[in-house]
Subunit: 416 residues, 2 copies
């Protein structure tokens, strides 16, 4: 029998679920508050003027064209009515027989209000454009700043969180300053610019083997990123960052990538919540007591071999595919074995010719890892034209040390 | 002797003046409120989801790197102190020995306040992104609109002004609807969408020969654009447009390209002003009584062979080059013959394989004119990488009928 399957959230998990379920004789309704799928792992390159924002987003309707039996609704989901089997959205209620929820995550500031107020993060496309505009505007303001201390603060960037996002952003930012802005601003001594990476634990890239973390640390320091380990940011103002030991870093830009938590939708579902507001799911990814509702990706909490699965894109993708298959199997009167995440490894790029990758018990570093990183990101990016544009930008940057998108597209509204 | 030459406005005229004056032993200061040169003639393609906004903008600092002796100031010019020889900006006063003013033009609504409030125009990069978001959001809203009349209004676009901008936007918009959105929105009858082009005179493209106007009219009508000649829009609301004869067009989008006037800076200069607030200049483009100040481009009023030069990019470019040369000549103790605009022709593209071009007394139409239009726009676009990205988009659209940038990047703030 034809079922109505609603998938909310067109992130990595949602589009995989849609792909599995399309053309299987069901009515598949895709819901997102944006009309595009966003390739979040490259947001930091938009923020550092390396890519145009449009090149890492792809129209959901363009994808849905190729998926028979799917429809798209541009709506923000505000809640779920489990009894009536319908999701509540800002454009009305949408009924479902099956529901797949993959609303993703938001930045977790762990209750540090002043930090939240004065820092930037990278979750949405506009965040990246806003941060790029802010970085470039800071240099423009530095040109006109007579006070050397304030000038240096304008060129000081504090990045919190030594995970992949923090590491990749720090590397891309210091390269932007040294390779590109140094030539753009001959009137500034850009050597005085500071990129400070703050990590609360004793090492970088905690999800990867120790050797990868120490290579990354060495590499970043050789690029003149100041890495502070066992350090925490506890307070912030518009022009300064306060450390756990009371130290003050005069800085005009604070970037926060020290944690994520489940999207606010999770809290409206009236289910139990685990660390980071995540929703515990059954081994088939369904919601306890609601076998017709599945939660996937960053919103889902599932333990495997004694520890919770990480909030990463590969987990979301595999969960999306699994949820889709469970629905198809159930409609065919079959059952599937429980979800099991297959860890294909993880990677982070540090800079030009330098990345770390760990897969199948092997560790790659340097040029080979960097090349694998490039190819895998191009592979997972959606849209053939996007791949060409991104590759073009990378080649350009590699050959000419040029990042073309150093445009200030909007005046800053932020008062500081 | 080394002189300090300030050029305000990095439009078509300003960058040509800068290019002429760079490396001639003078101190050249470039001032603009944006950090990029904008290729305005392609804004309509950004608005119709054909190009990413970054591809038609180019960093001024990237250009200035190649221009010896130039510096850039990101500032908004608020006035000129002729006596003290300095321009007033939001980041302080900048002194000059020579000043070249090319602040361009803004949209002229001719005092129609309701029209200004409810219409879109295309002068700035953000205008194009805002308009694209608005067009795509209108279709998303149409999907959820139960009232057929309101649904049709959401898909009705009124374009005022039958000049090149109006014609090009109308053609690109109807193609977006018929070739792209028709496939994106299977749930809508996009054939009901209306693109209405309103022109106050009896013909389109008044600056070109009559035959070109009538070809354009026929072509647009064959593409199902509704062209209303001898018609004027006199009033507007959020959901309707009122014509001169009282007729009401229910329309969610009104686009205004019926006129331009000199940028507000012109009014602050306390000089006489001509039609459209333009500033009359001497035959050498200098300001009467101020031989060290030049006004170029859309802000300048100069008659040639009995009629005022048009407010177009080619005029601005030639004026920019001339102003630069006058300064160099004067410093060398020479004089140049007065400025004379050489009309190399004009062109407008209507749609796929269809354009009109008039040059050297000859008129081209259709495929050949379209090809010339493409090549000339690529040629004048600044930045090699931009050219590749734009060409890639055009090839993509030509082969696959796909416009990739149909992203709603910002929620609408406009209340209606």
């Amino acid at each position: 029998m034809k079922k109505r399957i609603v998938i909310t959230g067109m992130g990595f998990g949602g589009i995989r679920a849609a792909r599995v379920l399309a053309g299987k004789g069901h009515d598949v309704v895709l819901v997102d508050r944006n009309n595009y799928h966003l390739f979040q792992p490259l947001l930091y390159q938009v923020a550092t003027a390396g890519l145009e924002q449009e090149s890492i987003a792809h129209s959901v309707r363009a994808m849905a064209r190729k998926w028979p039996g799917t429809r798209f609704h541009l709506s923000e989901v505000t809640g779920v009515d489990f009894a009536a089997r319908g999701i509540r959205t800002d454009t009305g209620q949408i009924p479902y027989d099956y529901l797949v929820i993959g609303a993703g995550s938001v930045t977790n500031f762990f209750g540090l209000d002043s930090v939240e107020r004065h820092s930037f993060d990278l979750k949405e496309l506009t965040d990246a454009e806003t941060l790029r505009n802010h970085i470039l505007t800071a240099f423009e303001r530095a040109v006109n700043e007579p006070d050397p201390a304030r000038q240096r603060a304008l060129m000081t960037f504090v990045i919190v969180g030594g995970g992949p996002t923090g590491v990749e952003f720090a590397g891309a930012l210091i390269e932007l300053v040294h390779f590109v802005l140094a030539k753009d601003y001959p009137e500034l001594s850009t050597n005085a610019a500071r990129v400070v990476l703050v990590e609360a634990t004793a090492r970088l890239l905690a999800a990867m083997p120790e050797t990868q973390g120490s290579y990354t640390l060495k590499k970043l320091r050789s690029m003149s990123v100041e890495v502070l380990l066992n350090a925490r940011v506890v307070d912030a103002g518009p022009e300064r960052v306060i450390m756990h030991d009371g130290a003050v870093i005069p800085a005009h830009t604070l970037f926060w990538s020290a944690g994520v938590k489940a999207a606010p939708l999770a809290a409206t579902l009236e289910t139990s919540q685990k660390g980071g507001g995540r929703i515990p799911v059954e081994p088939d990814l369904s919601l306890p007591g609601h076998p017709e509702v599945f939660v996937i990706g960053d919103m889902a909490y599932l333990e495997q071999d004694g520890s919770a699965l990480p909030m990463t894109a590969p987990v979301a993708m595999q969960m999306g595919i699994h949820a889709g298959r469970v629905i198809i199997a159930r409609e065919a009167g079959k059952t599937l074995p429980p979800f099991r995440y297959i860890d294909k490894g993880s990677m982070a790029t540090i800079g030009r010719n330098a990345a770390v990758a760990s897969a199948f018990g092997m560790n790659f570093r340097g040029y080979s890892a960097w090349l694998v990183w490039l190819l895998l990101h191009l592979y997972y990016l959606i849209g053939f034209r996007n791949r060409i544009v991104v590759m073009l930008n990378w080649v350009w940057y590699y050959w000419f040390h040029e990042r073309q998108v150093r445009l200030i597209t909007r005046r800053e509204e932020r008062q500081d």
